[in-house]
């Protein structure tokens, strides 16, 4: 019911959607979010983004977030896949799927999952620019704000 994966390979949204929904007809809606690597950051062109994580704690935190979402929105299932390693612009970073009997829970479940993932799962992004320089991405205050609207874990 809760599927949590950290991997360097890309994911296949069609296959993940099928795995989440196949063989059941109690689902009325699936909300989804995919995050992708943009080619610019603060106006500068980036050539790649590298995702680092904390093996063990990351999967643990993602599972806690997913289980909290299932309880809170009465989800029938959810999927959280996050990639790690170097990723060029245009590549997928993260996939969130939330299945529910009706659309509002599915959409809110997906929004909750990505908001919490962004503030509570131990991943860090480093950007590499065209001039060869690199910089760790700073946590964004608006991400913390977005997460606080859901209250505390």
């Amino acid at each position: 019911m809760v599927r949590v994966v950290v991997q360097s390979a890309d994911f296949d949204i069609g296959a993940e959607m099928a795995a989440l929904t196949s063989g059941r007809a109690d689902i009325g809606g699936i909300g989804s979010f995919i995050g992708t690597v943009r080619d610019t950051a603060h106006g500068a062109r980036i050539v790649s983004m590298t995702l680092e994580h904390y093996p063990g704690m990351t999967e643990r935190a993602m599972t806690q977030i997913a289980e909290a979402a299932v309880v809170r929105f009465n989800l029938l299932g959810c999927t959280l896949i996050h990639r790690v390693g170097p990723l060029p612009p245009g590549e997928n970073i993260v996939l969130v799927l939330a299945a529910a009997p009706h659309r509002q829970a599915a959409l809110e479940g997906a929004a909750f999952l990505i908001d919490w993932l962004k503030t509570k799962a131990p991943f860090w992004k480093k950007e590499r620019f065209v001039d060869g320089s690199e910089a760790w991405v700073d946590a964004r205050e608006e991400d913390d704000l977005a997460a606080t609207r859901w209250g505390v874990l």
Partner: protein, 83 residues
């Protein structure tokens, strides 16, 4: 105890993981940080940036007053930026 560093903390300290015997007088995360800062210029640079450092004890987020023991896995890292 096992101590882990991630992202720019790892780069400043110069390694991602070190094993340390629980130092005398260290019973909390905050006391451990004070002790670690004296360990090398890299450690000092990692913890003295005036930038926010997060901690996890045994893979759960922890505050400076959280207790630490010799068998714990303690991780230090910047605020998370995934997603």
């Amino acid at each position: 105890m096992k101590i882990l560093y991630f992202a720019w903390l790892r780069e400043r300290v110069g390694c991602g993981e070190e094993d340390v015997a629980l130092p005398e007088g260290v019973a909390t995360v905050g006391q451990l940080v004070t002790w670690l800062r004296g360990r090398s210029p890299g450690h000092e640079a990692a913890f003295s940036q005036g930038r926010l450092v997060r901690c996890a004890v045994n893979q759960d987020f922890a505050t400076p007053d959280a207790p630490v023991t010799d068998h714990d896995e303690i991780a230090f890292f910047p605020p998370v930026t995934g997603g």
